[in-house]
Subunit: 359 residues, 2 copies
């Protein structure tokens, strides 16, 4: 049986949900997928770092409330996150990066990914920043080191958007791609439709935990901008920088706009779009748009997100599903590990070659 | 370069569209997918059969109007379809089955598929019958002969439904699946919503070429019944017979029903559903149902079809796209060939091993 040793970088909601999945359903995954998962290192800004090359007891760890975790009290633990040291010199076949990202330069996630790839370790990440801003360089780095670099969770959590584009639409020419890719703004638009004005809808979303204290990234399209870059680069082979993607938001919209649109059979949505131009280049933007009822994205409501692929032979194929959520995003990491196993499993990692000697 | 030799069984709309794709974009597919496609045999109820082990000149063939084709006038041609002989003894690595199917026993497509698998040839088919009624036996037969058996086009033409279930949702527990899987009935429901009564909507659909002279299979749910069986068997591991799937239709619905539903925020749809019961068994049915506006299938209109997968970790993931169409269905065959290449390409077919000797 193949086994992958994981180093979890960041132990917030997503990687904790991944640890829960492994603890609760590891043996089922093993039966179904043909590999076993073991966590051998965890780093976290608050809890410190924990390194156990023989495997961390996840059940014991998960019995402690998130805010109470202190790795320094455990064998192999330290109060320092020591991200660089753990990624570069610690155990682990796959580095699972789920920290946070600065949309200007992609740090600190970018460095985590780079260190791991340079150390010859597979990487999966849920962070948009490194993928949107430096995806091409990181993919080249992964190829050079013969390791996997997977990031399904960077767009629509575990909803299989990037893999649909990459695997299921092979042989098609994709002429454009557009999506509703921010659940917070989509929820706020739904409340505007119900007559709530914009400032109140934002306050509600904040109270529900959907919106940040500063909602700018969600409602002004900056979050969608990074996702459009990822889609345009992955699906249309573009190489866009952030300044190439015009960015609009929804803060100018009112309940009256919603009623007016509805009377004409339209619905306002915040849409990220990328289209191939006649000359082969790619035009990408984030816009608030009043979509006709028969548009494939018009009915996508609330926390559900969706991406529509416009193709030559199939017309439009749309995939919709959750846009966020800790378990949903942790599943994206599982699907990344499955992809790494499928592409690199036969060739084997360091760990795997050890396994084959043992077994 | 790997090359696959194809035997096309049936030369109606779908396989003719496949031949057009190969003639027009073969070299592009070659660059993108890493294999070359050549057609070495074609059989057709009207045109007869044509066998050319060195490859058929598709451009010349496609220059002739469908109704005018007469293979007996060509070298290697005969006025007889000779399906069994061509499938069993003729050239070809992959048998591409796109004839027709009797929903009671799956013939003649079933025999075509069986002959091909028993002859050690890969099969892709767009026919629901053999898959719905005898899928398990045929898959075992394919496994025993070490060949591929692919049938993405049997549900929603080229829209990647079965592959989404099989590949992209790995590691999830699918608890249920439901879909709008018949474009004709969905179009008719749309017309009822616009105030046209049922008999008139059927006559219109017949005039547009959407509905058959006998519309029963579309409007009474029999077509969807076979698709539900395929989904239930593939996605939920069921082994359903036709009599296990309760079957309802839309012929009892009126414009008044549509208005009444709309006033309550509902939309009537013909839905095929399969759900896993508590005891692990699978309950499947075709029903007309008034869906609430926020149901993932409620907004699916006209020729667009959709399937929603209900899962444990991701909630609901929905894939929508064309439900029919000759080019769309021909693309399903291309995607099947890609799948055969990915799973069996390395091991090689007879043809491939010849290739490797040639160098």
């Amino acid at each position: 049986m193949t086994r992958y040793d994981l180093a979890l970088i960041g132990f917030g909601g997503v990687n904790r949900a991944l640890a829960e999945l492994i603890a609760e359903r590891g043996s089922e995954l093993e039966d179904e997928l043909g590999f076993d998962l073991r966590v051998v290192a965890i780093t976290d800004l608050r809890a410190g770092s924990l390194v156990r090359p023989d495997g961390i007891d996840l059940a014991a760890l998960l019995a402690t409330a998130p805010g109470e975790l202190d790795f320094s009290t455990l064998e192999g633990g330290s109060c320092e996150p020591r991200n660089q040291q753990v990624i570069q010199d610690g155990p682990g076949d796959i580095v699972v990066e789920a920290t946070f990202t600065n949309p200007a330069d992609g740090e600190p996630a970018l460095s985590h990914v780079r260190w791991a790839l340079e150390a010859g370790k597979h990487v999966c990440t849920t962070n948009k920043g490194p993928v949107a801003l430096h995806g091409r360089v990181l993919k080249e780095l992964a190829a050079r080191h013969g390791v996997g670099f997977e990031f399904e969770g960077s767009v629509l959590s575990g909803t299989p958007i990037l893999r649909t584009a990459g695997r299921l639409l092979a042989g098609l020419r994709v002429t454009g791609v557009e999506g509703i890719m921010n659940g917070t703004s989509n929820h706020i638009l739904g409340r505007l439709e119900e007559g709530v004005d914009f400032p109140e809808a934002v306050r509600e979303a904040q109270a529900l935990g959907y919106a940040e204290a500063d909602p700018t990234a969600d409602v002004e399209g900056h979050d969608v901008q990074l996702k459009v870059m990822i889609l345009a680069n992955e699906v249309l082979g573009a190489d866009l920088r952030r300044e190439d993607v015009r960015c609009g938001g929804i803060s100018h919209l009112t309940p009256a706009d919603m009623r007016d649109a509805a009377s004409r059979g339209l619905r306002w949505k915040l849409v990220g779009q990328a289209t191939r131009r006649e000359d082969g280049s790619v035009d990408a933007r984030v816009v608030s748009a009043a979509l006709p009822a028969d548009h494939p994205l018009a009915a996508v409501s609330g926390p559900t997100n969706a991406v529509a692929f416009h193709t030559d032979l199939l017309g439009t194929v749309t995939v919709s599903g959750p846009g966020a959520g800790r378990t949903e995003t942790a599943y994206a990491l599982v699907s990344d590990i499955i992809a790494i196993h499928q592409r690199h499993g036969a060739a084997g990692t360091h760990h795997l070659s050890k396994e084959s000697f043992r077994g």
